[in-house]
């Protein structure tokens, strides 16, 4: 079970108070994009063993979206950060590097 801390309201609770929103930091491709880009956006998702970045919503609490970094094998939560960003904060990435040297996720490392 994941224990997540909502960065918006500061509440720490287990995952049943939240709702997962899938992979984080997607680049949206809409009308006018190439078929390949659109297909990637619609269907192609990461399925990593290890470090993963996701969107979550505090559905039973403040109702806000946020991001979480976690490990898919150990369910360790490295940290959560606000939704209003296109990439994980530097200090969180440094923290993950300490715990999981050599991790990669899409074009992040």
């Amino acid at each position: 079970m994941l224990i997540l801390t909502c960065p918006v309201c500061g509440v720490t609770a287990e995952e049943t108070e939240f709702h997962g929103g899938g992979e984080a930091h997607l680049t949206r491709h809409g009308p006018g994009s190439s078929d390949d880009d659109f297909e990637d956006y619609l269907f192609m998702r990461e399925n990593p063993r290890g470090v993963h970045f996701e969107r979550w919503r505090h559905v039973y609490g403040c109702g806000k979206w946020f991001h979480a970094a976690r490990c898919t094998t150990t369910l360790e939560v490295f940290g959560t950060y606000p939704a209003q960003t296109t990439e994980p904060p530097k200090d969180l990435r440094a923290k993950i590097s300490k715990k999981r040297p050599g991790w990669t996720w899409k074009d992040l490392a």
Binding site: V8, C9, G10, T12, A13, E14, G61, C62, G63
Partner: protein, 192 residues
Amino acid sequence: MSEPMTAGADGGIAAIAEAPLQGMITLRGDLSDDTIRAAVKSATGQKVPERGMINTADGVGVCWMSPDELLILCAHGDVPDKLHQLQESLSRVHALAVNVSDARAGFILSGPHARDVLAKLCPVDLAPDRFAFGQLRRTRLAQVPAAFWMLGEDRFHLICFRSQKQYVSDVLTVSAQPGSAVNVWSKTISGT
């Protein structure tokens, strides 16, 4: 409205009573905005609470619901006046104040095991030093959303959506049924 549903006398481990009609106004807007903070202060006498807190006195309260939402509690009959006052003072800022008194139902839980009754249903750390008077917690109660705060030692006010009132009343009654004391947070209070 306020008849006890499970009294401690029936052998239940906590008293569960339906709360009397409660006036509620939802206020959405930028909570750091001075105009909004002043409007809340003049309508309720209370400051805008810190994150996750509730400010209350004399039956009038302000609950922090999310970074852009407050729930104002007052007497049911005072809502039209307070709403008018808020809407007047907020006419020039981007904010929304609505009467939601009938959207939610309330319950009062009391007794030395009240903490345990809630802890059985909600994924919340209810240790006395982790959840105390002045805090407000929105969370999941069994399968539905709810929020609660403390009225005093061993007394909780819980609100849920009115459409789910019967369900909440049922799960609370089960959680407080006779002989179901778990003595996690009530160990020092009761020898049972």
